[in-house]
């Protein structure tokens, strides 16, 4: 990111001089800094609203209930793990919390799951197939409601900010399945080093 940041600004100045747009470029710099503050201030409302509701779901145990539905599927995907491994419940909780847009709450479960997976492995610093599968699921970013995106659209006055939920859900669930299949294929053909 450091490189991209410096690169974008310096290239902008060079191109601006070349095309005689230096004043527009400098104006854009100051105007967009004000815009950035406006965006983050207007984000507060929708973020507060969503995190408020999600906190209720957390306190009432709805997320645990949700993860119980996921568990049987996980037993099929992680077929290399012993059926009674403690990793299953943490993976289920992590995926469920992420699905609801609770990435902060999901991280501790995810780290716990990684520790459980490490106990099943005999190599200290090498990732196992189960770890790669878990992170493939995690990095594909499966989510039911993209709360932050809706917040940005709503704060900019969209007519119907929730209309992206279904298209985004179709993409996120397909990518999720794609990542799982890809991880399975790699697990089979990846040569151990």
């Amino acid at each position: 990111m450091n490189f991209i940041f410096v690169f974008l600004i310096l290239i902008s100045f060079i191109v601006a001089i070349y095309r005689g747009r230096l004043d527009e470029t400098v104006n854009a710099m100051f105007e967009s800094s004000i815009l950035a503050v406006k965006v983050s201030i207007s984000l507060i409302g929708v973020m507060a609203l969503w995190l408020g509701f999600i906190k209720i779901a957390q306190k009432s145990g709805l997320i645990e209930l949700f993860s119980k539905f996921v568990s049987p599927v996980l037993k099929i995907i992680f077929n290399e793990l012993p059926k009674n491994s403690p990793a299953f419940s943490n993976i289920a909780l992590n995926i469920s919390a992420n699905a609801l847009g609770l990435s902060n709450a999901a991280t501790p479960f995810g780290i716990k799951a990684m520790k459980d997976l490490k106990l099943e492995s005999n190599k200290k610093d090498t990732a196992t197939n189960s770890m790669c599968m878990f992170l493939a699921m995690n990095t594909s970013g499966f989510q039911l409601v993209p709360a932050t995106v809706i917040a940005i659209l709503a704060s900019c006055g969209a007519d119907n900010p929730t209309e992206i939920i279904i298209p985004a859900f179709i993409v996120t669930s397909t990518t999720f399945i794609f990542a799982i299949i890809l991880a399975k294929i790699f697990a089979k053909f990846w040569k151990e080093v």
Binding site: A36, L43, I54, G61
Partner: protein, 177 residues
């Protein structure tokens, strides 16, 4: 088909909120107090991303104002036009796997520049709403348990991101094209 899916989009938030509240009442959670407690975190989330938004939004705005973005457009004109990809979304596609805060900054910039109802905004929203910051996730989880040889985890993560972007372009043109 599209109408039915749009209808589901409309009902999904009321449905989730109702389920949360009803389950909360059954489990005797003090819903009002807990809501306020959670809402407080929303304030911190928004304030925390402010400096990142400033950094990303100024660099992208300058890049556009200087005319550099037109250079990219001319460079990739044929494929962009063929797949109906707005040029504004290219920086977003590049940073999506690298940085979550930069992605939000670019998304906000696109929404403000092209208008919230534009095709570029909708495509960007779908891309951001369906993916995750792959590099950050790998760094946090592998770092936490001291794994150095991550084998194929990065390849799988980035391939899935690429797949997601291509599929998002396809889905966006179906829904909003």
């Amino acid at each position: 088909m599209r109408e039915i899916l749009n209808l589901i989009s409309l009902f999904i938030i009321p449905f989730i909120v109702s389920v949360i509240l009803i389950h909360g009442i059954i489990k005797k959670v003090p819903c009002y107090n807990v809501f306020v407690e959670g809402a407080k975190e929303g304030l911190f989330v928004a304030i925390k991303i402010l400096p990142y938004l400033v950094a990303i939004m100024i660099s992208i705005a300058m890049f556009r104002a200087s005319g550099s973005i037109e250079l990219i457009q001319n460079l990739f004109k044929a494929p962009l036009e063929y797949f109906k990809i707005p040029v504004e979304t290219i920086p977003l596609m590049i940073t999506r796997s690298l940085s979550g805060s930069a992605t939000l900054g670019i998304l906000s910039d696109i929404v403000n520049q092209t208008g919230v109802e534009s095709y570029a905004s909708k495509l960007s929203a779908i891309i951001v709403g369906s993916s995750e910051t792959t590099l950050y996730v790998l760094a946090v989880y592998f770092g936490a348990v001291g794994i150095k040889n991550i084998r194929y985890a990065l390849i799988v993560g980035l391939s899935a991101d690429l797949f997601g972007i291509i599929f998002a372009v396809f889905i966006a043109s179906y829904f909003f094209g």
